[in-house]
Symmetry: C2
Subunit: 174 residues, 2 copies
């Protein structure tokens, strides 16, 4: 895709609605079941997205705009949600994510990033030099990747129930 | 999952909303791009789901309830949408799907399928003997599988844009 910041905001703005429709007041078992050891449930995924809003995307965008490559991004904690989401309901997490996402996109729009600025560089703690365009594209791909992951883990709970249809549903065996 | 028809209706009822949030008035390029030869775009997928509403799930449920294994289901045409969706917009398809899904679920509720009836059998043209429970579970898994597919094909359009982050996003290489 040719990168377009208006389009980026468009797609990023959809994620809370998609996840609400998918998960709000959905059957508990579908929400809290993961796909096996070291995999995430839809509940875990929303917690992970929340953590990204507060520590990753906008803070890193600011760091690129303000400091370029001279400061390294804070490493992202991929397991923070286990502690932070505890004692919350899925509906609380969904609302929290929607609020944070709205704030993130307001902040992004406020920055009025120009096409030239998209080529500015920052320093990722393990990937090294990255551009703002790559960071913002990754934000979109990361959203979509976790929506797909949540849907997949829900789908797999039907792996046995579908009987012989399993062979027509490759998602159940991947 | 222990099969529960109320839960089945709950999940099936979510799909139009999920797809609306994901696709309604989304950037054209994201909607019509597929993932390469013999793959489907989100636009193709909605057409496929529409065809399922009119020819697959409810007609096959009725056939099991009315004729058991004595009549074989009509084979499902996996390519019907190419012809049928032509000249329609994504918004028209989304609305059509939402209406048909509402009608399908009304019809399903109307049938008041009992737990005993879930074990009734029908005949699939290639899979042979299947139960009503398997058919209804497959309906749910099929929905989720195509939501994941649509999201994945959208995500992959960012494969190059994310730069070095690609290694953290396995969805882009699968």
């Amino acid at each position: 895709m040719d990168f377009d910041i208006t389009e980026t905001v468009n797609i990023l703005g959809r994620t809370p609605g998609v996840l609400n429709e998918l998960l709000k007041e959905a059957p508990e078992e579908l929400i809290i079941t993961n796909g096996g050891p070291d995999t995430w449930s839809p509940f875990d995924i929303i917690g992970h997205l929340i953590h990204g809003e507060t520590t990753d995307w906008i803070p890193r965008t600011r760091m690129i705009l303000n400091f370029g490559e001279s400061r390294t991004f804070e490493p992202f904690d991929r397991f923070a949600q286990y502690e932070k989401s505890r004692d919350k309901t899925i509906n609380e997490l969904l609302e929290e994510f929607a609020t944070l996402r709205r704030q993130s996109l307001d902040a992004l729009k406020e920055m009025k990033v120009s096409t030239d600025q998209l080529s500015l560089r920052g320093t990722h703690p393990s990937l090294g030099s990255v551009t703002l365009r790559e960071l913002l594209s990754t934000w979109v791909a990361h959203d979509l990747s976790h929506i797909a992951q949540a849907v997949r883990v829900m789908c797999r709970q039907y792996a046995d129930d579908v009987g012989p249809w399993k062979e027509f549903l490759p998602i159940l065996s991947r």
